[in-house]
């Protein structure tokens, strides 16, 4: 089959139909699907970090640490979550009415900036948590073991995050390269 035959067959393709009220609801009533997912992630992370700090304060004598150390963690995590929401909104708002090559280049630049900031702020928030654990502790071999385990979890998280962004960026760059002679 050549592309001409395919074209003829596709002209008869059955397409799903949305009525006007559904289209209207998509435009006005339902939040953007990507931002919906990000909002969910922010809520889950905020709850998880909140619960974690509460647990640490009540179960692990963290109340003996100065308040500013706890506040530092809360601040670092809050800044990261706020950046997540704002950053995704910014990338989603990239104009799509320009020719493809131009839009892709713009999206790539914006996504790259966001990815760098994302990884940096994520690292800083995890470093703040790590500092919180280390602060004022009398280290024993068991505590060293726990710290190493936490560090490994954090590093793995960062590596997964990094590879996700690299994959997205590589995909965009390859689309741009494919269109530029």
């Amino acid at each position: 089959m050549d592309l001409h035959e395919l074209k003829q067959l596709l002209e008869g393709e059955r397409i799903p139909q949305k009525d006007r009220s559904e289209i209207h609801a998509l435009l006005y009533d339902r939040p953007h699907p990507v931002l919906r997912a990000v909002r969910r992630q922010v809520i889950i992370e905020a709850t998880a970090w909140g619960g974690f700090l509460l647990l640490v304060y009540t179960a692990f004598d963290a109340h003996t640490k100065p308040l500013w150390v706890g506040l530092l963690v809360a601040l670092a995590v809050s800044v990261y979550l706020a950046h997540l929401m704002a950053g995704y909104s910014g990338v989603v708002a990239v104009p799509a009415d320009k020719p493809l090559v131009e839009s892709l280049a713009l999206a790539y630049a914006r996504m790259r900036r966001f990815a760098i900031r994302n990884l940096l702020l994520r690292s800083l928030s995890l470093a703040a948590v790590f500092f919180f654990f280390n602060y004022g502790i009398d280290f024993t071999p068991a505590k060293y073991g726990a710290l190493v385990a936490i560090a490994v979890v954090f590093i793995v998280q960062l590596l997964i995050n990094r590879s996700l962004w690299l994959r997205r960026l590589r995909r965009l760059r390859s689309a741009i390269e494919s269109l530029v002679p």
């Binding site: 089959m1 592309l3 035959e5 395919l6 074209k7 067959l9 596709l10 008869g12 393709e13 059955r14 397409i15 799903p16 139909q17 949305k18 009525d19 006007r20 289209i23 209207h24 998509l26 435009l27 006005y28 339902r30 953007h32 699907p33 990507v34 997912a37 995704y88 990338v91 989603v92 708002a93 990239v94 104009p95 799509a96 009415d97 320009k98 020719p99 493809l100 090559v101 131009e102 839009s103 892709l104 999206a107 996504m111 997205r168 995909r171 965009l172 390859s174 689309a175 741009i176 494919s178 269109l179 530029v180 002679p181």
Partner: protein, 158 residues
């Protein structure tokens, strides 16, 4: 353009959006999300529709831009042989149905930009319209199409 008129235009040309969703997403729920993303982007970009081009051409440009730059989760393509677009007209024979399936699967293996180009070609756009939508020269459109056709042949014959 007011919301009611815009919804009516989207309704009239929604096949364009569905085709882009089908090309870039294999899962039904992902297609629904991408449909909404494209519809929202069209609404945000409505001021850029000048009226001197066809509405469907402008829609293709915005829809393809959105599909490729979207931050949505991308799941692996899990379509299986036999899972082909629903055709209103049955292919005249089994051989043709088989060739159709092979070609459709091969198109799904192209990269994002190649898919965009082949889609515009299948929509019957002229080289000039494609060049305008993609931002590359007409000559290069010809070169790219020829390479994509070769690539499709290689994929099908391997």
């Amino acid at each position: 353009m007011d919301a009611a008129r815009f919804s009516a235009l989207i309704d009239q040309h929604q096949a364009v959006i569905w085709r882009v969703c089908r090309l870039y997403c294999s899962h039904v729920e992902d297609r629904e999300d991408l449909f909404q993303e494209i519809a929202l982007k069209l609404w945000q970009s409505r001021a850029s529709f000048r009226g001197d081009a066809k509405f469907s051409t402008w829609m293709y440009r915005v829809a393809l831009n959105t599909a490729i730059t979207s931050l949505r989760r991308r799941r692996p393509d899990l379509r299986y042989p036999g899972d082909v677009p629903d055709l209103a007209v049955e292919p005249p024979d089994d051989g043709m149905a088989d060739r159709y399936e092979k070609l459709s699967s091969a198109i799904r293996l192209l990269d994002d930009a190649e898919k965009a180009l082949i889609m515009l070609y299948l929509e019957g756009m002229s080289y000039a319209e494609m060049a305008e939508a993609l931002g590359i020269t007409e000559n290069y459109i010809g070169v790219k199409l020829s390479r994509i056709k070769d690539k499709l042949k290689t994929i099908i014959n391997r």
